[in-house]
Structures are given as C-alpha cells and as structure tokens.
C-alpha cells in the first residue's frame, strides 16, 4: 500500500496538529477503558513521535501527568514505519520485532521509552473497544 505521489505531495503540506489533536483526544477518551491500571508515570513529561517513514510526517504527543497532550519535536523517542506497516502492527498481523529485523520499523532516541510503549500496545486488550463497532466492520478488523 504505497501512497500515490500526488496524494503524498498534498499530505506533506498538511499541518500535523489536527491529526495529533484527534489522537490525544481519542487516547484521553479511551484511557480508563483500555488501561485502567496504568498511571502513565513512565510517559509523564516525555514525548513520543510516530512518523510515517515514506511521508516524513507524523504525530508527536506526550502525557502531562493527567492527560495525553500534543508535544513539540524533537520527541524523546521516534518510531518510523510505512503507513501500511503501522496498520499491520495495529491489527496484530505481524509483531514489531519481525518488522524491526526486516528494517521496516525503526526506533531512535530513548529505546526504553519506546519499548514501554510497544509493550503497552501488546498488553492492551482491544476487545472492549471493538464491542462498540458494527459486526461487519469488527470481523474485518479482528484477526
């Protein structure tokens, strides 16, 4: 799933703030449901950037002790992968270590913070979230 060149050019011009705001808003809404036991002390005052490698654009966010917030670059840790590979990871079709071995996923900066985030995602039970989706869509998402 490569991004077509004309769309890529447009996407590269767009500001990063709107998608970042959407992400932190979603994270704040879902936090208690998905991660009831995590106080996110490990992320407090730190920042993470998820970058789309073939686009050079991404989202940068952190945690202020109470809520997920937008953050400035440079982030403490930066993940970079193609959009298609983020989608593969999100659907648990392949594990991030495999993509790392194959050089499709890179992590730079604070590796420990990155590992915390990776392991949080691995440990997350997305079932409560998926229950709100219509059956048709749900069966397409669940592997």
């Amino acid at each position: 799933m490569n991004i077509p060149a004309p769309i890529k050019t447009i996407l590269q011009q767009l500001p990063e703030l709107p998608p970042t705001l959407a992400l932190v808003t979603a994270l704040n809404l879902l936090r208690k449901q998905l991660w009831p036991e995590d106080d996110f002390a490990w992320l407090t005052g730190r920042s993470v950037r998820l970058e789309i490698a073939d686009l050079g654009r991404g989202v940068t966010f952190g945690f202020d002790g109470q809520r997920f917030v937008t953050a400035e670059q440079p982030a403490d840790v930066v993940f970079a992968a193609a959009l298609a590979d983020y989608w593969i990871i999100a659907r648990r079709q392949e594990d991030p270590d495999t993509l790392f071995f194959q050089r499709r996923l890179t992590i730079s900066g604070d590796t420990e913070l990155g590992l915390q985030l990776k392991n949080l995602m691995d440990a997350t039970d997305f079932e409560p979230l998926l229950q709100h989706l219509p059956q048709g869509l749900r069966s397409r998402l669940v592997i």
Binding site: A80, S108, N119, I143
Partner: protein, 333 residues
C-alpha cells in the same frame, strides 16, 4: 507410537497468553514484572490482575501456566525471589521454573505441592545434575540448555526419571545459559542478575540515512547497511574488529528451528518442546504456536514431512539471516 510432547509457548502479555491457548499450546510460560524473571523488559510481563485472568483463561481451556522465576537471587534481596515463589503458589500456577538452587530448596520446603521445573538457566546438561535436583528438590522436569546433540539428549532421557523439555524454536544466543555475564562487560548488568541481556535504557539505535548503528552503553556493537536484516542489540551478536577483520566474532544472529527433527525428538522421549520469545508480541506467539501445534500433531505420522507453509511462517518471524538445528545436529565429533 511415542507419546506426543507438550507444546510450551511464551507470553509476555495477556493477549499473547490468550493467543497461545487459542492456537493450541499445552502450557504457557510467563513471568512477573521484576528482576526474578529472565525477560525483565520495560513494560513487559504481567500485573497480578492480568496473571490471575490469564491463569483462569488457561485453566478454563484445560491448559497450564508455568511461571519462570529463573534469575539468581541477589545478595541481600533473597526475600524478593522467595516472595515471587509465594505469589506463584497463591495465584494457582501449575509449576514454577527455577534456576537458583537456594530458591529451589525454598520452594520445595515451603510449597511442596507446587511443581518445580529446572530452568534452562540452571544449566544442567547431564543426568547426574538433573537427578540431583530431583533428589534434593523434587524437580519433576528439566529444561535442557541448547548445547546437546540429539544422541546426548537421548542419553540424558534414558538415565533420569525427570521429564525432559527441549527448545524447539526461537532466537539463539551464545548459550552459556545461566552463566553468561557477557553483557555486564558493557552495562554492569547481566541476564542472571537483572533478568535482561541488554537493558533497553542502555540501547540506542542511530539511523543514518539507510544505515543503522546499534550502541550499547555508547559502545558501537553493530552497523546495518540498507536492507540488511537487523538483530537484537546484544553483545554476543555484535560485529567486532579482530586483527583487522570486522565480523560476528562471537555469534551471528540465528534462530533455532527443529521442524525437521520433531519425529526424532518424539522417538527419544522428549516430554515437552519449548518456544523462545516472551519478549515478542501476540502476533508472534499466535503464528509460532499454530505452526508448532500442527507440526507436532503430524510428527507421529510415518510419512511426516515439513510443510513449506510451516517453514515460511517460522522463517518470517525469525531473527537473523539463517535458521539452524543448533547443537542437535552435529555430525562431526
């Protein structure tokens, strides 16, 4: 027909545990979020609540949960390791996997009803050592270090009443299991004391264009060119300059794959086959468990052969450039 060995799969999280159970693991091995566990990685492993849920899930499906408390108790902190054994007993684990003889003794005396397995980190490679663990601490199963040939594994099995578990798939290391302090040379920490070969806090990956450098506590241990597969950031798998040549001076990143010798492992009486990789994600656990389940179920058949689809599935998730039978096949003497 030989008895089918149990399939023992790794889980570092609740979704991975459920994936292992769903895809046919007979038992899942896990660890606590502390230094008592040889996969003590940031954010990995189970909280008490997650583990209780995992044990209930496995038991509901007729499977077992084994808890690895397989590092060595550190001076002045023995209580932490003992407490972990107590917790394992309280929450209803089916067995604990231990390496430290002091801890084995504690578990034997305090929780005699809790089955004890000798961890690979216990580094017992001969039947006398295994039989001693059996006589002194009632060990019912031993996990063999990955250094023995098939005939040597068979020889051990013939001379012990203890069940023998061997590795069937996963990343290999230098396999000085239970004795490796190599990483402490760079970081001051080692797998047997802190539960992790290369603590993430010491690891830095530096992209430079298409090239990537790996540093461990600032020491450059490897550099990958564009498209070259990467490995875990451990000292043993680094490339070093030796007398003017730069190469994998200790070991190349490699994965063990025993699909082709499963019938032999069954014939010699192996009780259980273990998959490495508690640090991996649920997708890995699901893929490897399903593949090994299918292969073990087929391995008793006289016409057994390795299906290309199994090989492909395991190759995809492997670390390094190649897969190997490791020490199992060593035609030279």
């Amino acid at each position: 027909m030989p008895r089918k060995p149990q399939l023992i799969c790794p889980a570092g999280s609740l979704p991975a545990l459920k994936a292992a159970v769903d895809r046919g693991a007979d038992a899942v091995y896990v660890g606590f979020k502390n230094a008592t566990n040889a996969r003590n990685f940031a954010g990995l492993n189970f909280t008490d609540q997650q583990l209780a849920e995992g044990i209930a899930y496995a038991h509901r499906h007729g499977r077992e949960i084994l808890i690895a408390i397989n590092t060595y108790a550190q001076a002045g902190r023995v209580a932490e390791w003992r407490k972990s054994v107590d917790r394992a007993a309280e929450i209803g684990a089916d067995a604990v996997i231990l390496a430290d003889f002091g801890l084995l003794s504690y578990a034997y005396q305090t929780h005699p009803q809790l089955r004890r397995h000798l961890s690979v980190q216990g580094s017992a490679t001969n039947f006398a050592a295994i039989n001693m663990a059996h006589e002194c601490f009632g060990v019912s199963r031993a996990v063999l270090p990955r250094v023995l040939t098939l005939p040597q594994v068979e020889y051990v099995i013939k001379n012990t009443p203890v069940e023998i578990e061997v590795f069937g798939f996963g990343s290999l290391c230098v396999m000085a299991e239970g004795r490796c302090i190599l990483s402490s040379y760079a970081t001051g920490q080692s797998p047997n004391t802190h539960g992790v070969c290369s603590p993430a806090g010491f690891v830095r990956w530096e992209p430079e264009g298409q090239r990537m450098r790996t540093r461990l506590n600032d020491i450059l241990i490897d550099q990958f060119e564009a498209g070259e597969p990467a490995g875990y950031p451990t000292l043993c798998k680094g490339r070093f300059e030796v007398e003017g040549d730069t190469y994998y001076a200790l070991e190349e990143p490699t994965s063990l794959n025993t699909l082709s010798i499963l019938p032999e492992l069954m014939k010699i009486g192996v009780s259980a086959i273990k998959v490495e990789g508690r640090q991996r994600s649920p997708a890995y656990t699901a893929e490897v468990t399903a593949t090994l389940r299918a292969a073990i179920d087929a391995a008793g058949d006289a016409h057994y052969s390795v299906k290309p689809a199994w090989q492909d599935a395991l190759t995809k998730v492997s670390e390094g450039h190649q897969q190997t039978l490791g020490a199992y096949s060593r035609p030279w003497r």
